[in-house]
Amino acid sequence: MADTPLPDAPAHAAGEGYWQLVWRQFRNRRLASISFAVIVILFLLAAWAPLLANGKPFYWREIPFGASQAVTTYPLLQYLVAPTQEFSVEYLFNYFCILTLTLPLVCLPAYLLSRGRGLAPKAVRKRSTYAVLGAFALAALPFLAPGFVTRAATKVERAADPAMAQRLKEIEAEYAAGKLVGEAYATAKREAAAVTEFRILRSWRLDERPYLSDFADLREGNAEVEAIFPPVSADPVVNTSETLHPPGVYGRLGARRYRKIDVESIDEPLPPGVSRICLVATVNEISGGDVRILERDTRVHIEEDETRAQLKDLRAGDRAWFMGRRVEAEGGGAPRFVAEAVRPESRPPAWTRHLLGTDRDGRDVLARMLLGSRISLSVGIVSVGIYVLLGILIGGLAGYFRGIVDLAISRLIELVICFPSFFLILVILATIEKRSIFLVMLIIGLTSWTGVARLIRGEFLKLADQDFVHSARALGCGSLRIMFRHILPNAMGPVLVAAAFGVASAVLTESSLSYLGFGAPPPTPTWGEMIKQGKDNIEVAWWLLVYPGAMIFLTVTAYNLAGDGLRDAMDPRMKR
C-alpha cells in the first residue's frame, strides 16, 4: 500500500509543520478518519452519559410525610458537580460534560465579536486561546463550590399556593381519620400537589418524565410518577427515595393491611440473583421488633436502631408481619414503613423501553454501557499516559547516557518482559485489598512501559549522534534540555503510534480484568463486568453478552485503526 502514490498526497505545503503534514495524511485515510470520529463520539457519549442515561431525575419534588410543603431538588445537577463516589473518573467526565456546554457558550460569542474586524492572525490566535482557556475555567467553577450549587438547587416551597396547602391539609385530616386509605390517599395527594410549576417543562411534557432519557431509564414501570411524589404513607408499600439509589428494579410487595404484608408479586421460583427482600423503615418511626413470615415460622429481628430487616427467603404467598414497638411519627398519622423486594429481572431488548434490555438486577444495559464507557475510555488514556511517560523517561535515560545506564536499564526491561503482563497485573491486584479503578490504571501503567522504553531507547540511540544534537551540545545546552527539547520531539512519532495501539490493548486488559472481577468495585458499571453477568446467564440473556462485547470491540478496533492510520501517515515513504 505504501508505494501506491495517493493522488492527494502532495509535498510539504509552504509553512506546513511536520505534525500538520501528518494530520493531513491521517485525514486522507478514510478508515482512520472514521475511527478517529468514532473515538471522539465515544468520548462525547461518555461525557454526556449522565444526561443520556442517568439514574438521577432531572428534578425531584417531594412532599415529606405530614407536611404541606413541597421540596424540589435537582439531583442530576448535584450529581454533575459532586459525584457520589468520592474520587473517581466521574469527575473527569462530568467536567468534560460541562465543558461541552461552556465551550460553545464562551467561544461562539467570542467568535462573533471578533468576526469581520480584520484582526491580525496573531491577535486572533491570542483571543481564541483566551476564549478556550476561559471556557475551561468556567467549566471548572461549579466543581470548586459544589456546596453552593447544591444549596442553590434545592427549593422549598412554603405553601406557595394557599389553595394547595389547604387541600393538602384536608387530605391529611381525612387520612388521619381513616377515610382515605391506600392508593387513594397517595393519588389524592399527588393530584392536589400537581401545581402548575415548571411551565416550560410542562409544555415539553417533561414534568411527567423528569428523566431526560426515557429510553435508557434505569428503572421500570411508573416509577417516574413516584419519583416526583413518592407516596408519603404506609399502606401502599412502594419505593421511597432512599431505595432509588443504587439504581435497580424494585418489585412490589402488595401490602393489604396495616402492619401485614402479603407477598404476592414475587415470581416462583425466585430468579437467580435475588438478594434482598427488605422491610424498610426510618428510625424515628419504628424502633426494634420482629418481622415474621407466618407460613414458615421465620422471624427476623430488627435491632433497636436498625432500619431494615432483610428477609432473604420470602416467597409468593408468604404473609410477613411486622411486630414491634411503634413510635408515632411527628405530626401524627401512621408511621411509614416500606417493603422493598429486590426482584431483579433480566429483560430482553424492546423498542418501547430498555432498548438493549436489562441486566439481572434489572438495570438498563444501554445506560450501563454508556456509563461503563467512562471507565474503559479513561483507563485506556490514563494508563497509557502513565506508561508512555515512564517509558520516555527510562528509555530516554538508557538511550542518551548509554554505557552502564543503558546496560542496567536493558537488563531491567528484559526482566520485566519475562513476567506475563496480564498475569502480573492480576497478581498485583490480588495482593492488594483495596479495589479501585485508579489502581487498575496505575498497575497497567507500571507494568507495560517496556515497549515504549525500548522504542524510545532505540530512537535516542539513533538520534543522539545526529548533527543537530551535536550542535545543540556545542551551544552549551544541558543534557536534560537536549534530551527533552531536541531529541524527544523527533522521537515522538513511533511513540504516538505505540500509544494508540497501547490504548486499545489497555481497554482490552481492563475489560478482561473486570470480567474476572478484578476491575472497578462492583456497583461501577464496566463492560467486562456486564459480560460476566452475560456469561452467568448464558442460557437466556444474550443481550448482556453481545452489546457490551460489541462496545469493547468497537472501541478497540477504532483505536487500532487510528493507530494504523497514524503509522501510515507518519511513514516517511509517504512524504514525497
Binding site: L415, F419, F422, V427, S512, L545, F553, N560
Partner: protein, 509 residues
Amino acid sequence: MTAYILKRLLLFPVMMLAITLVSFTIINLAPGVSGSSSATGDASAQRMTRQQLKTLRETFHVGKPVHHRYLYWLGAMQPEYRPETLTLRLPFSVAPDAVPGVRTVRVRFAFQGAIDEAERMERVRAAKKAEETLVPAWDEEGCYPRGSAGGELELEIELQKKALFLEAPPSPVFRNPQPLAEGSPFSWALAWERPTAEQGGGGTLLLQISSAESHYLLIGGEAAPVLEVTGDVSGMSFAPVEVPPAPKRGVLFGDLGKSVERPSVTVAQRLWDALPITLLLNFISILVIYLASIPIGIYSATHQNTMLDRSSTVVLFMLYSLPSFWVAILLLKGMVVLKNAGLPYLPIQGLLPTGADDLPTLEYLYTATKHLILPVLALSYGALAGLSRFMRVGMIDIIRSDYIRTARAKGCREPRVIFKHALRNSLIPVVTLVAGLLPSMIGGSIIIEQIFGINGMGNLAYTAMLTRDYTILMATLTFGSFLTLAGILISDILYVIIDPRISFESGGR
C-alpha cells in the same frame, strides 16, 4: 555466535534469580505475608484461619527480617528445622544366640543441651526487639524443648527367630504417649518396628515426639536428642540414634510450601498437576497459530490487492481487536444454542469427560480433540491474526527484493520462487516471534481456562487469586515467568542460529 549464546545461557540463571526476587517483592504486598500485618491487626489477615496464617508463615517465613525471608524462601538459607512430629529411629540387631521371647526395655530420653525457659524468653525478646512491631509468630506458636525435657518409658519387644520375618512388617503402633515434661505441650511415645528380612532378628525402636497443639520442635544445633536404653537388653546391640534429616526447604529444592486453602496438598504437587495441561494447550495453540498464519500470510502476499487478500486483511484486523474472553463466551453461547436446537455441538467444559481414562486409545484421542477445539480456537485466533499480518508484510518485503527478481529472471517457476526462495527468509522473523507470543498466551490462558473450566495453571492461579492463596499465586507467577524467560532464550538463540545475517558480536562478520 557461540559467545553470544554462551552469554545468554550464563545470564539465564541470573535472570531467574531476579525473577524470584521480583515475585517475592510483589507477594510481600499481600496482607498476612508482609511481616507487619500480624501486629497491626490487618483486616484480611484476621479473616484467615489460624491454619492458613500458619501455612503462610511457614512458606514465607513471616517474622524474620525481609532479606532472610527471601533467602529462606529461595532455599539459599535453610531455616531451623521445626517439625510438629519427630520420629527418632534406633535400629538394633539381635545376636544369633539371644533368647527369643518378650523383653521389656526401658528407654531414657533427653534433649541434650536444650535451652531452658529463661533462655527461650530471652530469645523471644531478642526477636521482638529485632522486629519491633512484630510478635514473632514462630516463638508464639512454636516451642523449644525445655531443658528438663525427657524421661523414661517402657516397651515390650518380642524377639523371634530370624526365619519368621519374611513377610512385610506391620506398621508400628505408638501407644501410651507421655508428656515430655511437666506442662509441656509435647508428648512422646515408643513403638518398635518388626525387622525386615534383611535385618535378621533385629528391628528398630521408634521414638515419636509429637505436639498436641501444633507446636513446633526445634531440632538440631543445641537440642540434640540423647537416648539410653536399659532393661532386658542382653543379646541386643543398638546402633546410634538416627535423627531424620531436615527436609530441604526453599524453591531451589522444589519446595514451594503448602496451599493456603488446602494445606494437605503441596503447591509443587498442584503446580505439577496443572502445568502439563497448560503447556499442552499452549503448545497446540502455537502450532495452530503457525500452521494457519503462514499459509494465510503467503497467500495474501502473493495475491496482493485481490478481493480475497483485502477481505482477509479486514477480517484478520477485526479478529485482532476482538476480546478473547468475549469470543470464548460467544463460542460457549453458540454451543448452548446448538445443543438446545438438537444439533451436534462441541463440549464446553474441561479437557476430558469423567471416565475418559477407560476409553480405548482412538476414542480417547477423539474425545480429547473435541474438548480441545474451542479452547484452542479462543486462545489462538488473536495471535493468529497478528502473525498473519506480520507474515504478509514480511513476505511482501522479500518478494520485492532483488534476489527474488533474479530468481524469476533466471526462469524459476513461481511456486519454486515462493516456496524455495522467498519462504525461508520470510519465516525467520515469524519464527522468532514465538517468544513474544508466550507471555500473552500464558496471560490469556487464565481467562480461557477459567471460561472452559480447564484445570491448568491459569485456572489454578485464578482460583488462588479469588481465595487469596498466596503460596500458589507466588508459585504460578514465578513459574509463568520462568516459562516466558525460557521461551525468550530459545527464540533468541534460534534467531542467531537460523539467520546468518544477524551477529551480536562486536565487529560483525
